[in-house]
């Protein structure tokens, strides 16, 4: 199952400076009311998303394009379920895999193996499910005996390989990505691409934010153009050519 529907989704960020977040100002506002209140209470709000409505169905590969600050990342976070819209409604059906931060939950002091469990649990897996994935992850990340060493002893490439291997080891209905993931040196990178491709192909929906028009063209059948938090247009493009 994979289905997403947004109805008039609006997200606004309150901007708190160092001072406006303080209690003093809030108390002052309550206590004084008049002139000061204007000064202290005028909260600046940035509308990151403004009344978005769209529908994404099973099989859709959606590209999000737009300038920096157009609202791509915010929309991805709303889809991932971390930001709740201020108004409007976002309905997301299906298991979501957020590829926004593939290292979230991992600890440098913990061993590679411990990190597989930590990351796996953060991704919503049970210990028993992770048990089954462990050998394959270790194998794919090419860590060998290093898996029992603390992650701080890893090179940055090794750490990324591990994070990538874990995050791409589970299947999901909906995949959310901010730019196409790419990791490692050349030989690993091509294996990684195959693996990521498999994961994406298995998923029912892909939402990919990117600045790269080629990437969008080769992967997506639908493009949502965002500008200043609004949808400029939604176009349907030719379905992606089969790989190879």
């Amino acid at each position: 199952m994979g289905y997403i529907r947004a109805r008039e989704v609006t997200v606004a960020f309150p901007i708190y400076g160092g001072s406006s977040r303080s209690l003093k100002k809030t108390f002052m506002r309550a206590a004084t009311g008049g002139v000061l209140a204007r000064d202290a209470g005028d909260r600046i709000v940035v509308k990151a998303l403004d009344g978005l409505s769209f529908e994404i169905k099973e099989g859709d590969r959606v590209g999000l394009v737009g300038h920096n600050g157009a609202g791509k990342t915010t929309l991805l976070r709303v889809l991932a379920g971390t930001y709740e819209p201020v108004s409007g409604e976002m309905m997301v059906l299906g298991r979501v895999a957020s590829m926004l931060s593939i290292t979230l939950g991992m600890e440098t002091e913990a061993t590679g193996l411990e990190n597989i469990y930590l990351r796996g649990i953060v991704l919503g897996l049970r210990r028993s499910e992770i048990d089954a994935l462990v050998p394959e992850i270790i194998d794919f990340a090419e860590l060998g005996d290093y898996i029992d060493m603390p992650m701080r002893t890893y090179s940055s490439g090794m750490a990324m390989r591990l994070a990538f291997a874990i995050s791409t080891s589970l299947s999901a209905d909906i995949i959310i990505m901010d730019e196409w993931l790419s990791v490692g040196d050349q030989s690993f990178s091509s294996r990684a691409q195959v693996r990521l491709r498999q994961m994406v192909d298995k998923a029912k929906i892909l939402v990919l934010a990117s600045h790269d028009p080629n990437l969008i063209r080769t992967n997506c059948n639908k493009v949502i153009h965002l500008d200043h938090g609004k949808i400029v247009n939604i176009e349907t493009i030719e379905p992606p050519a089969p790989p190879g």
Binding site: R77, T82, Y83, E107, E109, Y117, L118, V122
Partner: protein
């Protein structure tokens, strides 16, 4: 007042959070391991430092207050260890959401998971510290009563109150960044105002002053049964009332602002 949908979502968050035991137990335990990684004794350093403190302060304060060491030391050991649990839960409550910023922004988990993580971490620390209590009691109060087991529901009550306090304080602190400083200093003051070092009986006819302090009752439901004092009915009434009122207020506030926490952290 509060739309019922928001209330439903808040209750669901609380229920799912508590039910996600595999997440908070793993993450909480990981944080303990993280703190003591590469140290030989690990969390037992806490036991040692608490033990040293009690052993050093026991005879001194016993003398200052004109108390018999054999009754004062177990009193201090029990009270101090339980106080540490309460105080550290209050202090860490201020950071439950601020400290979990990365999690909250990147991945969908019930927010209560981060609160449960804090409670669980403190329960583990308490388990290590409780060795001190056992030693002090075994040494000075060799005769045991079955009623000492009443300390367990008391302990559970403290942890359960930690859940609502964590949600409520965590939420306010995510919004107003001055509150953690305020809470920190209040907890320090509360340590001296709550009968931890001194016994409430010492106040004579002013005992009501201690009875007005809810933290005293929270302390008492664990300490009193261990020390063989009965008649903690009043304390239980206060603690149960505090739990109910606490959860009620927390749910109202949580229902209203739960969706905003991700924007605040």
């Amino acid at each position: 007042m509060i739309p019922s949908r928001q209330l439903t979502l808040a209750v669901k968050d609380l229920k799912d959070g508590i039910a996600s035991r595999h997440i908070w137990s793993t993450l909480g335990w990981q944080e303990i391991k993280q703190r003591y990684r590469r140290s030989a004794l690990g969390p037992f350093w806490l036991t040692i430092s608490t033990g040293t403190l009690v052993a050093a302060m026991g005879p001194l304060y016993g003398r200052l207050f004109g108390q018999d060491t054999s009754s004062y030391l177990p009193f201090l050991a029990t009270g101090f260890v339980v106080w540490q649990l309460i105080a550290s839960m209050i202090n860490e409550s201020t950071q439950v959401f601020i400290g979990a910023e990365q999690f909250i922004k990147q991945i969908r988990l019930p927010l209560t998971v981060h609160v449960m993580r804090m409670v669980w971490r403190n329960a583990i620390v308490f388990a290590h510290n409780s060795v001190i209590v056992f030693l002090a009691l075994a040494f000075y109060l060799p005769q045991w009563e079955w009623s000492a087991l009443l300390a367990f529901p008391g302990l559970l009550a403290i942890l359960v109150n930690g859940i609502w306090a964590g949600i409520l304080l965590g939420l306010f602190c995510a919004r107003f960044r001055d509150i953690p400083q305020i809470v920190g200093s209040l907890v320090t003051v509360a340590f001296f105002l709550t009968p931890v070092l001194w016994k409430h009986e010492m106040l004579g006819r002013h005992q009501w002053a201690a009875q007005l302090n809810p933290l005293f009752h929270l302390l008492e439901v664990v300490r009193a049964p261990l020390l063989g004092t009965t008649s903690v009915a009043l304390s239980w009434v206060v603690v149960v009332g505090m739990t109910l009122v606490g959860f009620f207020v927390t749910l109202v506030v949580f229902a209203r602002f739960r969706g905003r926490i991700a924007y605040w952290v």
